[in-house]
Symmetry: C2
Subunit: 191 residues, 2 copies
DNA sequence: CCCATTAGATACGCATCCGTAGCTTATGAG
DNA sequence: CTCATAAGCTACGGATGCGTATCTAATGGG
């Protein structure tokens, strides 16, 4: 028998991968201990020894999958840095962890405990992400009117990336991201 | 026995309401004939006589729930008409049918047959919606540069409404809709 | 090398949903 | 009033997930 038995960290990482893959493929509504165990090629008992529910296990896995890379203004050019920040977003969106996060977000009403746990354990400890980070930097250095940074304008980039991703069933290309910055974001910033 | 027995249209409408309510409450992944029958207070056999799967039934119900009101430019003022169009959107978003549509959209990868049926039977027969209708009208009447109507700019309003709805777990208020128009949409249109 | 730990396997009774069958009975058209 | 239609009810065997119990055997620390 080829009975290489996994233990500790190695096993847990495999289970974490399995639960994310299950969410991606089956969805939150079909997330079961049986399914996770099958995919991780382990026994249900192993899961129940550590986690009481599939959701606990999922939150654990998402905690591990974070943090995500944060954009650092590097080009000394707002347009370039905004495109870079949104590209970080599109890169992240195709990961299993992101798919799980988006599933939780869109089913927040249905599974509020999940959403709360995700925000409390993973998101809240972090500040604004993606374009906000860039915009704040340029505003702080006097190269952008701070009055233009509103709850609306700081969301334009992310909002359009998500909208295009939904409408076209794929993440926006670099050209589309550039168009978002040129046609929507920069005009709203008064540039 | 109070055995008022429903038949025909009345019964079907009740079932349509039930399937939408089930999707809202239980989600696509938990949509079952048993659940629908329970909620509609009828027997599974009644459902199986007409529909082979919960998804067929759901598509049928969504077909009935449409069409949605289309914005008609009425104020002779772009800003006012845009706010009116986006308010139509926020009003629609709180209906059960909209919740179901958004669920299908966000789980498109998981249930492609559902998404295809929804597009083919319900959406494709209709043109652009909400802000696009308004923007096209003003552009056609020479009151807006047609070159500004791109696949990006025509989505700004809807994109931000969705983004705010997701972030705040509620549809945007009238004030927030106005801010979307003033701070993002109009600037992108060169106004 | 010994042995406590724990992964892994199997089985259990319970519950829910599946899709179908067979029946009773309210309903409305004629 | 009669009667074809269809709503409503109950029950079925099969499948799957639940959470738990009870083993076994691989693993690595001492």
């Amino acid at each position: 028998m080829a009975t290489e038995r996994r233990r500790g960290e190695v096993l847990i990482r495999a289970i974490h991968e399995a639960v994310l893959a299950e969410v991606v493929e089956a969805g939150l509504g079909q997330l079961t201990m049986e399914g996770i165990a099958r995919r991780a090629a382990t026994a249900k008992t192993v899961l129940y020894r550590r986690w009481a529910t599939p959701f606990e296990l999922l939150i654990d896995a998402l905690g591990e999958a974070y943090p995500v890379e944060v954009p650092t203004p590097a080009a000394d050019d707002l347009r370039t840095d905004l495109i870079a920040a949104l590209t970080l977003l599109t890169d992240w969106m195709v990961t299993p962890a992101a798919t799980a996060v988006m599933a939780i977000t869109s089913e927040r009403e249905r599974y509020p405990e999940l959403a709360e746990a995700l925000w409390g354990k993973v998101f809240d400890p972090r500040g604004g992400t993606f374009t906000t980070t860039v915009l704040r930097w340029y505003a702080a250095h006097g190269r952008l009117d701070p009055a233009r940074l509103t709850p609306i304008t700081t969301q334009i980039g992310e909002a359009l990336v998500f909208k295009l991703a939904i409408d076209n069933a794929r993440t926006p290309s670099v050209e589309e991201v550039a168009a978002i910055v040129d046609e929507a974001l920069l005009p709203a910033l008064g540039l």
